[in-house]
């Protein structure tokens, strides 16, 4: 079996399933946000929406989903194009560097989202 230590869940099926489940969560979240934005929205109503616990939980869930979804997608892109086959001997170093950069950014974004929504 082909393995990859840097893939999200190490198996193709889990990655595939997680990407689909997270996409449904994100779709639901963005529909909710779009619905709010299309109505009359002002600072007070926006703040009261995000004051509610269910919205905080939903936002956290969406942030985690976005991170997982992005990582699986970016991992596919990186392992397609940033390889030794495509870039020569430096391919693996370039790919690992990009993976490190992307994973750090995604973790930072999740923490940032938690700080914003839960503080």
């Amino acid at each position: 079996m082909v393995t990859s230590v840097t893939s999200f869940s190490r198996t193709g099926l889990s990655d595939w399933l997680i990407q689909r489940v997270t996409s449904i969560i994100l779709l639901a979240y963005f529909i909710l946000i779009a619905y709010q934005l299309l109505g009359s929205v002002d600072y007070t109503s926006w703040e009261s929406l995000f004051e509610q616990t269910w919205m905080k939980v939903f936002t956290l869930l969406a942030a985690l989903s976005l991170a997982a979804h992005s990582w699986i997608g970016l991992w596919s892109v990186f392992t397609d194009y940033l390889t030794e086959r495509m870039l020569g001997p430096k391919g693996n170093v370039i790919r690992l560097t990009c993976q490190l950069w992307a994973s750090t950014a995604l973790v930072a974004y999740v923490i940032w989202a938690v700080v914003i929504v839960w503080s």
Binding site: M1, V2, T3, S4, S7, R10, T11, G12, L13, D15, W16, L17, W75, S76, T79, D80, Y81, T83, R85, M86
Partner: protein, 235 residues
């Protein structure tokens, strides 16, 4: 007269591949692309190299890229492939070129071998044959007809980028052909070998394979069935 642009590369004499133009007298007939190649080889340049055998879409030898679309030269008429009075013929994309239109298909066959494309059943063989019901046999329709011309796998970007790790549409169609076979008992072993991030799941469903298959087969659908079997196995 037909303008034909042909991919030429002889590693023994050329530093790099180049395109050579021919003006071919087709007599205004709707020839097959293979006929045009035969004309060029017979009347213009005998060194033009390509594979061919049955010349009727059965052997799968003359898979080529014609005006940007993969197909079998022997069953692709000029009326289907010529655009703007010009025909550009290149080897199948993504595989190393041996000479002119002949590619090295080792990677393609390695992936085919990986899926163990043969019936596995350790139980003693019956005196005559392993029977199937008509319904069980019907499960193999649309799967067994593949002639391994490689038009599908070499039109798949995922196979271009990872030909050593992604099985590719041709291999996966054959993988499902044996997964779907009621006589085969190695389903679990076959699925276990496919459940990694590359072998099956590099398919993003863009259906280039379906678009080019000269036999009208649907590898994307077979890959979907494999995904479904992997999901059922794991949940």
């Amino acid at each position: 007269m037909l303008n034909v642009s042909l991919y030429r590369y002889n590693p023994e004499t050329d530093n790099a591949p180049y395109m050579q133009d021919f003006t071919v007298d087709t007599g205004d007939r709707d020839l097959m692309v293979l006929d045009v190649l035969e004309l060029i080889k017979a009347e213009y340049d005998g060194s033009v190299t390509y594979r061919r055998s049955c010349r009727e879409g059965v052997c799968g030898s003359d898979g080529l890229n014609m005006n940007g679309k993969n197909g079998l030269a022997c069953i692709t008429p000029l009326s289907e492939s010529v655009k703007g009075g010009k025909l550009v013929i290149r080897p199948l994309p993504g595989l190393p070129v041996i000479r002119d239109l002949v590619v090295d298909m080792s990677l393609f066959y390695a992936q085919y071998e990986k899926v163990q494309p043969y019936l596995q059943n350790p139980t003693p063989a019956p005196a005559i044959e392993r029977l199937q019901s008509p319904e069980e046999r019907a499960q193999l329709d649309g799967l067994y007809e593949c002639i391994l011309c490689a038009c599908c796998s070499t039109s798949c970007p995922s196979f271009w980028w990872n030909p050593d790790r992604f099985v590719g549409p041709a291999g996966l169609l054959q993988a499902y052909r044996f997964l779907a076979d009621s006589r085969d008992t190695a389903t679990e072993e076959r699925l276990a070998k496919l459940d990694d991030p590359f072998s099956v799941f590099r398919c993003h469903g863009i259906q280039n394979c379906v678009n080019v298959c000269p036999k009208g087969l649907n590898p994307t659908k077979a890959i979907g069935h494999i995904r479904g079997m992997l999901l059922n196995r794991a949940t």
